[in-house]
């Protein structure tokens, strides 16, 4: 089996404007990694812009939402047998220099590594409802799993093969898998860790999983509780 290196999965919905800067920075920091932009039904030519920049594109036929776009990229990584898939948002809020720390944790045996902005000096921590939500979900994840993860809603994640397989399951939560995904990972006996991440302000107003915050919180709360009740067989569905 020829194992391949790191695949950076870049979910994007209408990010044409930011792409050049984000990809440029990624390339200069991670010259050896493979990139895959997942174009989630963009209407602003994001896919064409990515091709112009020489980034391979996975084009979804219509908009599936953040979680399903990320999942499509993970499926590609799984099939191409990448030893590590890193999900990295294209709105400019993630810092490519944090990937090294995540990759190192994975190399030391972690199946799933989360980039956490909590406790990182200078990291952009978002508005107060966001911070409150993060605290709430962190507390819930700890209550349900015993895992002490400070930033369960982070989109910056590194997935080893076992985590890729879990996240690629057909019925894995695909709206915005974050806190619930961590609970599921723990129930699947994956080793979950976190590493510091230097979050920045998003370059645009529409962060992909922004808006409808109340619905999101409600869905996530329920999804978390159900995730905690999942049996092993449910995880493979």
């Amino acid at each position: 089996m020829t194992e391949r290196g790191v695949l950076l999965v870049l979910p994007a919905w209408n990010e044409a404007e930011n792409l050049e800067a984000v990809v440029g920075e990624l390339r200069s920091v991670r010259p050896l990694d493979e990139f895959l932009l997942v174009d989630d039904g963009s209407t602003d030519g994001t896919g064409a812009e990515a091709r112009r920049l020489g980034v391979p594109v996975l084009t979804l036929p219509f908009r599936l939402g953040y979680g399903a776009a990320v999942q499509a990229g993970i499926k590609w990584g799984l099939r191409a047998e990448h030893r590590l898939v890193v999900t990295f948002d294209t709105d400019g809020q993630h810092d490519p220099r944090d990937i090294a720390g995540l990759a190192e944790a994975a190399a030391q045996g972690a199946d799933l590594v989360i980039g956490s902005r909590v406790g990182v000096a200078g990291a952009h921590s978002g508005s107060w409802p966001r911070r409150a939500g993060r605290r709430l979900f962190a507390l819930l994840v700890r209550a349900l799993t015993g895992l002490s993860l400070s930033d369960p809603t982070s989109g910056l994640k590194a997935l080893g093969p076992r985590a890729q397989a879990l996240f690629a399951a057909a019925r894995f939560p695909d709206r915005c898998p974050d806190a619930d995904a961590l609970v599921l990972a723990q129930r699947a006996h994956l080793r979950v860790e976190e590493r510091p991440a230097h979050m920045r302000r998003s370059r645009n107003r529409h962060s992909m999983h922004d808006g409808r915050a109340v619905a999101y919180t409600g869905n996530m709360l329920f999804s978390l509780l159900v995730a905690a009740m999942c049996r092993e067989a449910d995880l493979r569905r």
Binding site: P56, V57, T59, L60, L64, A68, D174
Partner: protein
């Protein structure tokens, strides 16, 4: 139960059942989705022919009058129906998501196998 009522509701039930059979016959509805409706039509007929059933049922669940039992059954039926729709819709949306991702993955595989010609981005 007066004869007039019996005949009326029997006619309604028969029309309902025939409509369902016709929908399935013309492939407008899948057999799997028809059983709940068939059950509804069949229970109307059963209750008309055996009105005692409704009286027994009323006594069993403790409602005051038979009409309440009927209303309860109707609402229960509608609730079960929408629940089954939610399940089917969820399954469909998962399937659509899987298909869309698969289309994207296959397209990417094909692109990789046959590199784009120069001038064609």
């Amino acid at each position: 139960m007066p004869l007039r009522q019996k005949v009326f509701f029997l006619a309604v039930a028969v029309v309902l059942l025939l409509t369902i059979v016709d929908l399935v016959r013309r492939r407008r509805m899948r057999v799997e989705y028809s059983w709940l409706w068939i059950a509804a039509g069949a229970s109307i007929i059963a209750l008309i022919l055996q009105y005692d059933l409704l009286i027994h049922l009323t006594a069993l669940i403790g409602t005051a009058v038979t009409t309440s039992t009927l209303f309860f059954l109707c609402i229960l039926f509608l609730a079960v129906l929408s629940l089954s729709y939610s399940v089917q819709l969820s399954r469909l949306s998962w399937e659509v998501k899987e298909l869309a991702q698969e289309v994207a993955l296959l397209r990417r595989e094909r692109e990789q196998a046959t590199p784009a010609q120069p001038g064609r981005a």
